[in-house]
Symmetry: C2
Subunit: 308 residues, 2 copies
Amino acid sequence: MRIAVDLLGGDHAPAVVVDGALLACRIDPDLHLLLVGPAGVVEEALHAFSPVDRARVRTRVVAAAVGMGDAPARARHDTTVRAVAVAVGDGEADGFVSAGASGAVVTAAALALGRWTRRPALAATVPSLTGPVVLLDVGASTEPEPSVLIAHAALGAAYASVVHRVERPRVGLLSNGSEAGRGDQVRLAAAAGLARTPLPAGARHIGNVEGHDVPLGGPADVVVTDGFTGNVLLKGIEGAYALAGGRMPTDTAPRAAALLGVGGVAVVCHGAANGADVASGIGLAAHLCRINAIARLATAARKLVEVS
Amino acid sequence: MRIAVDLLGGDHAPAVVVDGALLACRIDPDLHLLLVGPAGVVEEALHAFSPVDRARVRTRVVAAAVGMGDAPARARHDTTVRAVAVAVGDGEADGFVSAGASGAVVTAAALALGRWTRRPALAATVPSLTGPVVLLDVGASTEPEPSVLIAHAALGAAYASVVHRVERPRVGLLSNGSEAGRGDQVRLAAAAGLARTPLPAGARHIGNVEGHDVPLGGPADVVVTDGFTGNVLLKGIEGAYALAGGRMPTDTAPRAAALLGVGGVAVVCHGAANGADVASGIGLAAHLCRINAIARLATAARKLVEVS
């Protein structure tokens, strides 16, 4: 598996990204990397690998990054995130990983790989007491729309089936109460739409779920929400774990999110990712490539969520 | 202090509400209660108190409740939540507590006590590493509106100053990134409005904060968001604490939310509250009465958030 890595993405780049790349290579002997960044950064990164591992690493020099405060459209220009996406689009890599701004990753991925749904979704996997919970969207787009929530329900169900091998995934709509009829206007419209929309992989819409159902698990394998709320919730859960004296339990779930609805493997790490998180993201990208996730997701969900 | 208690509010009512009332009386020797519920429930509750404490308890028989799945407008009718609110409006109690549906509490409180802002806000206090963080709205209203976020920023600042005695509270707008320009259209409009709106209590708008800034604290004393997102975030944080092996650290913060912008003390406990949580809510209501919080909030913020 050949994964392109954006050395300039994230708050602590390039140091933690290089750490993550080293760690990922140690964990996975079949991994090949394409490291993308400015000349000096790329050279230093290459020297961090042992002479043996260095044979598995290619590099590409791109000087500019999309900063966390930049507009996502900057990813249209010659930047590291665009270069890793283009590497996948051109077949030089099987997937890419960036810890940069998710809006920039979405823009770069949609341009280089194409998208088959109007709004691609970032899907995080949250470890819970009862197994992995797929939470989406966690930040690919921010405006809540009923039609997008319905499309993301289909994408999330397909992802839970393909990646977590959940049979007949239970799909819940995140709301401010579990009772039917709870939620804002967007949620009420989405709930009505979900009730009459077929979902892939034999998935069932089980109604509303609440914020605690994401970390605790139980009612749903897939929790659907808009990218604004999902991003706030995921970071809130991470913060609570940190305050409670530890990180999220990570043995059951990758510490990175997969971009769904684009024509290739794209993985986004947290902007505050450390080396182990980046390695987990690279591992997720390699896993998605190995199981042919994108084609299988498209087979399962594409008809339901096609660009309209 | 005389607090009216809705015996029928919450998932585990009336048992946990009675437990909470007993515990609150044990903790606070100056507390007087007005317990409101159906005849049998009220009678049983009264017998749970010792003969001495029973002198501090009055009762009122109201048979019907607003269920968690009912429309909030049901609180306009003869229900326990309406009766506790009316008791405050009529001067028979100094404040009221309910663990029922927050929409019903808002309706009952607005009718019985009046409101001086268009959308009252439920303010929770989240314990953090650096002190209490006031999070609002956590569910009084669900539709995000820039003008409501701005009014709630003023209410939250006044609350942090009056109740938590925070000097010059730092007010953050919850978003999906800390950088200026991050957020959905509602957040962008609210941020622009906050930049030109004076806040009470010498408060300062410090820009965007993220989900993890609520449990971890640090940048802001007050975090403003819409009631949908705030409800989801608060429950997500609670769930993460529960999974991490404990409840939220509670020595620094009440386990109930105060309704701000109405003409009296109204406290909402979590629907899943246990007895200690209800006691904490009763204690919060008594504290708000003792410090004359409503009048002081109105003095600080009313001019900025008046019903328009």
